[in-house]
Subunit: 484 residues, 2 copies
């Protein structure tokens, strides 16, 4: 009650004291614009003064433009406090750290051409939402909310929701990982997994070896953390082993970062033999390695291709970043880190210092959905779906695009090196004018150097869009070739 | 198909070539333990050799202990690859950055006494889950999932879910904030909001002024980022203005971090007048300020107490960290940053570099729940609930605890300075032995210095637990006093 701090004194008219009290309350922010004043009846009773006195005060305030009254509703504050007069303006872009600046400057959502309605965009590698089984998802929600709703909505644990951790441990065992002395931390997707790792285990100036080209987000994050990226090239089997060994000897990097399956952007799936060879090099030079398990679930199994962490047996030098969200429910942002249990224990503290824990509701729905058998059914369905789309894509590229090489074995994107030495950054400019978007190769280079390569994502495109888009790219390539 | 890479040659028996091929596949990881081999029929057809030859190969492998067969099911790999023999062991605790080390060392979940079943814990300031309206929450879920399920489960935007942003803008306007040139970023709770800010806007060595004592998580995060914390003391109205001005002049800090409502741990609600005075100092010295909106929703309104960001009018020097999750659904981890729109645009890029975005499902359910009117009903209910519990708590403390001062005006905790100069860290040790836990004051000091203060959270405790717990604390204080 605004008047509880007003002590009526004898030295001035009471109505004036009431007026001043209200004005002061507005100035100090105790009363804000449009807030309701106590009724005259209430005020008179609290202050033990006549109601007429209060009415006089309110009338004066109204006539001075400080309050207004609404019939049948009462009196309200009309003016805002005056602080804005003496304000200051900070230039927030000038106060950024190296980290903040890099995140901003390398944010391709801001720097790249934007999709507009009606365009054909090969930019995205997001999955097709129509394939999501929302009915099954709904059922999973209802199951978990009725089983343990209150628990899920209250604070959880930084490491993650126990059932999900157990599920993921078993899931990784299915990929051939030796579970002894390993543990899992649940994260907000792959990106947070990498963020947690980089913040806990790198300092500015550290060197990291990556396949080149590589995932733009990874390049951005590593640069934001001040790391120096050393690129190693790839052939069709994956990263080149001899070059990897050479660069390790030359640079003594702190980390090796590899994406063995559907490498982004090339789509190369590292062969089992190559994985073996790479792992031998890691062991030989006692290297710690971040394995990005990107889209591994889309591998058309039969013969199972093991992740590096499975090859590593009881060694503890591989940290695996898992995420199902590239194909399933990316909106939920769920991923995990699998590593040595002592390492996970530390990363759990880092996770706690970043955001306490990942949504327990999301984790619970997710594991309920996964263990219901819906995931196997879904994966089967989408494998076929994206496989068909991929094969169609390859067929059409062969028809329209004068390529030197098409990389990739599936997944949600292909990567093309053009036959002629065309700067795909310039090509994009032309294509964009005609409503077609793709990712030019320079985005995936640590030094952003121009390339004649481009990445085409196709997860969400219809056949007719793929054809129209490729035709336009083809025509624009033709123009470049003719100009030469 | 594991045999698609086998070319039968003329130089050795075919069954031997098949055996060697399988052994190599196991060694390279192409076949893992317990994976199924193609049937003999299938293999013979792929390799175009007789089925008997294949059966011989499989029998030899089985007798050599490399595969096993299950009747009616087929043949499976028995051994794991041998990589573990040549393994390496990394000591992960030795590779940490300053950031990682600090997060680990200051993780009170690990360093403090753990709650065990049957204990009375005043440690937690989590809300009482029984109060959550899970039925209304379920309804909100069903509404949003049927309206836009696929969209919510696919990638969203770093800034947040549009409806939630709009809701929060209006919500903040209701607190008196001038919306012009302001914007909002949705975060995974308060903690992530602070993490984003500190990473984007501080570098090691920067100085930050905080109320002292202050929120442990804040101290931990600032130290992890290498910041120097300058403490300013408080009186019952909030942070001391003269001391604040002095410390600003002396240290020229980069930031001021303040928690005006239910300051953690003291529970002090900064008075409207004090907020005004503090804001004047901020303006005078052109200071940027992080305002932690902690538990503001529990303020027993009537006269509205404005946050600093509302007092700042059209100035842009206050960055407000909001979170409803201290009282509502902490398991979802939802919070927001409100600031100058240019600042938010940068922080949006930082958010994207950390975890792409916050769960769109959670954001959608949350705003649906909020706008249904369920939130107002809930807040009304919990305000009364926690108010009653708070008043009971105060009453009982006065009965049992020889206090110098009880701080706080409500919220979910109280803070007590004991009458005698008892080290509450030592007191905790005694109490823990008797099954009672609380937060000793040193946890909230930047330099972790011992105090005679303690924080008692009561959100989840029954009346009889409060009484029993306080009695034990009281008896242990008595023992200290007697020992003197």
């Amino acid at each position: 009650m605004i008047f509880s701090t007003l002590e009526i004194k004898g030295d001035s008219p009471i109505y004036e004291q009431i007026e001043k009290h209200i004005e002061k309350a507005i100035q100090t922010g105790a009363l804000i614009k449009d807030s309701k004043l106590p009724s005259t009846r209430e005020t008179s009773s609290v202050l033990k003064v006549s109601r007429n006195t209060v009415m006089t005060a309110y009338e004066n305030l109204e006539s001075r433009g400080i309050i207004y009254s609404v019939k049948g509703k009462g009196s309200f504050v009309k003016i805002a406090n005056q602080s804005s007069d003496q304000g200051i303006q900070i230039d927030w872009s000038k106060k950024l750290s190296h980290y903040g600046t890099t995140c901003e400057n390398m944010d391709i959502i801001k720097t790249e051409y934007r999709y507009e309605k009606g365009m054909i965009s090969f930019k995205s590698i997001a999955p097709e939402g129509n394939l999501f089984d929302t009915e099954e998802f709904k059922r999973a929600f209802l199951d978990v909310i009725s089983m343990e709703g209150e628990k899920l909505l209250n604070y959880g644990y930084a490491q993650g929701y126990r059932r999900l951790i157990d599920y993921l441990m078993e899931y990784m065992q299915g990929k051939g990982v030796e579970l002894k002395d390993k543990d899992i931390l649940v994260t907000n997707g792959f990106t947070e997994g990498l963020d947690i790792l980089l913040s806990a285990y790198t300092v500015p100036g550290d060197k990291v070896i990556c396949e080149m080209p590589t995932h733009h987000t990874t390049i951005k994050m590593m640069k934001a953390y001040g790391l120096e990226i050393i690129g190693v090239s790839m052939d069709e089997q994956g990263v080149r082993v001899d070059e990897l060994a050479e660069k390790i000897i030359e640079h003594q990097p702190k980390w090796i970062y590899l994406t063995p399956s559907y490498q982004n952007p090339t789509g190369i799936v590292m062969s089992p033999e190559r994985r073996r060879e790479v792992y031998k090099v890691l062991i030989q030079y006692k290297m710690t390695c971040i394995e990005d398990g990107f889209n591994e679930e889309l591998l058309y199994s039969g013969s199972h291709v093991m992740p590096l962490i499975a090859l590593s047996g009881s060694s503890n030098n591989i940290i695996y970043l898992g995420s199902l969200s590239k194909i399933l429910f990316p909106g939920l942002r769920l991923g995990w880190i699998m590593a040595d249990k002592n390492c996970i224990s530390i990363l759990e503290s880092v996770k706690r210092a970043k955001n306490i824990h990942t949504s327990f509701l999301d984790q619970a729905i997710f594991v309920q959905y996964m263990s219901s058998g819906a995931f196997e059914r879904y994966v089967k369905k989408v494998r076929k779906y994206y496989r068909d789309r991929y094969l169609f894509m390859i067929e059409e590229i062969k028809k329209y695009i004068p390529y030197k090489k098409i990389y990739g074995e599936g997944g949600l994107h292909v990567y093309i090196t053009l036959n002629d030495n065309i700067d795909t950054r310039e090509l994009l400019e032309q294509c964009y004018a005609r409503g077609v978007l793709f990712m030019p190769g320079d985005i995936f280079m640590a030094n952003q150097s121009r390339t004649s390569s481009l990445r085409l994502g196709f997860g969400k495109l219809e056949h007719h869009e793929i054809v129209s888009g490729l035709k336009i790219i083809s025509e624009e390539i033709q123009r470049f070739t003719n100009d030469k």
